[in-house]
């Protein structure tokens, strides 16, 4: 007899939490505590030795945060997850869990700027080298793999260039080489795409974006598929006695969630980016409505993209959901329910018109985030990328006329009204 397989929407509401054993509380309780009492010295020893399951200190685990972790593992169809204070912290602990001095990463060169800098500057300072490649041709990953490569890294939908990754092709290259593929699935969300279905070993998220969905709470998560063979010879840190935790062999002891346990007991314990329980609670509230919100996010984004494509004050529109996108076929394959909420367009009049557009919107919010329920706009050339030369901006995929919109859940007529009004003002 096999267990009933619950649908995605049910998992968004239920996975990770049954009513509280002590009180019957239906909502996930907020365990706002740093520490948890031991029953006896022997119980404490068992906990420290990982011989029993339980909570010790909220830097390692917390029951509210654990609900979020299990729910995300469930909706990504993974085995286990560990949450961190932000998305960038989550990917740092994921990478440092298996990388050490002398190791290498092969990564898409279109990564989000914060991620790119983490790999290219911060990890490089630690002696970990990243080779950046054009991910539009999956073979470029294969060509850059060496005996030292531990991770292939890419985004399902790149930020802000919106390239869609050929997940199956890249995962095959990774698995044939015995290298773990780590995918940032923030833009697609598990509602849109589940990288484990195509063979990824790890998924990371900035939960700050669509998962939380309301722009209230930072958070990140690392999820492991439970299917990657960490004992293939490339990852001695997973199979040999841990110098970081009592000589435990994590893969042997915890099997298909050994990566997550190691991440928790080594990286979270010694680097410390724990997620606050209250943030976990708010992120959980968001995930309950993820399927409903993503449906509307994608519908509104497509409507905005179509509207702008024929607009006289717009030079070009980049949205993988449009047939004009070079990533449209990949979007149909990997994002069949919708190509996400983010699009970019080129404004007629270039940099000065872009800045004027941003100043002229009525209720669209000018800020550096995506995935809020509210519509967000930014003109990178006059803000986040202002210090760069024209040439550097082009290399970063940011043209002077580029405006990015994270389309929200407002009435679509109002979103189009505000965009049209600001485009008119920018042209005058």
């Amino acid at each position: 007899m096999s267990d009933h397989e619950f649908g995605f929407d049910t998992l968004c509401l239920h996975a990770g939490q049954v009513p509280d054993a002590a009180t019957g509380s239906r909502a996930a309780p907020i365990y706002q505590t740093t520490s948890f009492v031991f029953d006896s010295p022997d119980h404490a020893a068992s906990l420290f030795n990982l011989q029993t399951f339980g909570n010790v200190y909220s830097r390692l685990s917390n029951p509210t945060v654990a609900v979020l972790e299990e729910r995300l593992a469930a909706i990504e169809r993974g085995r286990a997850a560990v949450a961190a204070a932000t998305g960038i912290a989550a990917q740092a602990v994921a990478l440092l869990n298996v990388l050490e001095q002398g190791d290498e990463i092969v990564a898409a060169r279109t990564l989000y700027g914060g991620t790119l800098t983490q790999l290219d500057v911060t990890l490089r300072k630690m002696g970990i080298a990243t080779h950046f490649i054009d991910s539009d041709n999956p073979e470029n990953f294969a060509r850059a793999i060496t005996a030292k490569t531990k991770i292939l890294y890419a985004e399902t939908i790149a930020n802000p260039s919106l390239n869609v990754l050929d997940l199956a092709a890249v995962a095959k290259i990774a698995n044939d080489a015995g290298v773990a593929l780590c995918v940032d699935n923030t833009f697609a969300t598990p509602w849109g795409c589940r990288p484990f279905d195509y063979g990824a070993a790890l998924v990371v998220h900035s939960a700050t974006k669509f998962l939380g969905g309301h722009g209230t709470s930072m958070g990140g998560v690392v999820i492991e598929s439970g299917k990657f063979p960490w004992d293939n010879g490339r990852y001695p840190a997973m199979t040999e006695p841990s110098a970081g935790y009592h000589g435990i062999r994590f893969y042997e002891t915890f099997g298909d969630f050994g990566f997550t346990m190691k991440c928790r007991m080594e990286c979270m314990r010694t680097l410390g980016p724990a997620l606050a329980p209250f943030n976990a609670f708010l992120l959980l509230q968001g995930i309950e409505t993820l399927p409903l919100r993503m449906e509307r996010h994608c519908a509104n984004a497509l409507a905005v993209a179509r509207h702008l494509e024929g607009h006289p004050r717009v030079r070009w529109v980049n949205y993988p959901g449009l047939p004009s996108s070079r990533y449209h076929d990949l979007a149909l394959r990997y994002l069949p329910r919708g190509a996400g909420a983010v699009l970019t367009f080129g404004i007629e009049g270039g940099a000065s018109a872009g800045a004027k557009f941003i100043e002229s919107v009525e209720f669209l919010s000018h800020l550096a985030n995506i995935g809020d329920a509210k519509t967000l706009v930014i003109h990178p050339a006059s803000t986040t990328h202002r210090q760069l030369s024209d040439e550097q901006q082009r290399a970063a995929g940011v043209s002077a006329d580029l405006v990015r919109i994270s389309v929200g859940l407002e009435s679509i007529e109002d979103i189009l009204w505000d965009i049209d009004k600001a485009l008119d003002k920018a042209a005058s």
Partner: protein, 156 residues
């Protein structure tokens, strides 16, 4: 068989567990599991010819030497060693033949299943208990448990 209903039945009915290949070294997975089972109310009977006693329990050379009835035979041995252990498990009248995480042996499993034993393979008894009754959820593992009822057995 490792669906939730089967596992609940195994744990509800079986409280005496013979742990074959139990190590006396505190950092070995078998020691973890046996200590956990003891702490959660199971009677653990160690089976390992190398030791007189583990975890304060008398250690036996083989399943046949154990004088008391055994509910669950939990095997921490490599796959190649499992066939004679399955035969012994049948002989001593165990109800469950359980092969630990990373261990499968179709022949041994068939011997046990053919004699009417419930067979679980490639699973850790400690992890599965904590998955159903609480504990595993605290470390972010996808337990697969979806329910609107309070946990039926409280973890210690």
């Amino acid at each position: 068989m490792s669906d939730i209903r089967t596992l609940r039945e195994i744990f509800a009915r079986g409280r005496t567990v013979a742990v074959v290949g139990l190590s006396a070294d505190w950092f070995r997975p078998s020691y973890f599991a046996a200590k956990y089972l003891k702490e959660h109310g199971f009677r653990v009977i160690p089976v390992n010819p190398r030791y007189p006693e583990i975890l304060g329990e008398r250690c036996y050379r083989s399943l046949r030497d154990i004088p008391d009835p055994i509910d669950i035979v939990d095997v921490f041995r490599k796959a190649a060693d499992c066939v004679p252990i399955a035969e012994e498990a049948v002989e001593v009248g165990a109800r469950v033949f359980w092969l630990q995480l990373g261990v499968t042996n179709p022949q041994a499993e068939a011997i046990a299943a053919g004699a009417g034993l419930t067979v679980v393979a490639n699973r850790c008894i400690k992890i599965e208990y904590a998955r159903l009754f609480g504990g595993l959820n605290w470390c972010g593992v996808n337990t697969g448990v979806i329910s609107s009822h309070r946990p039926s057995m409280l973890p210690r």
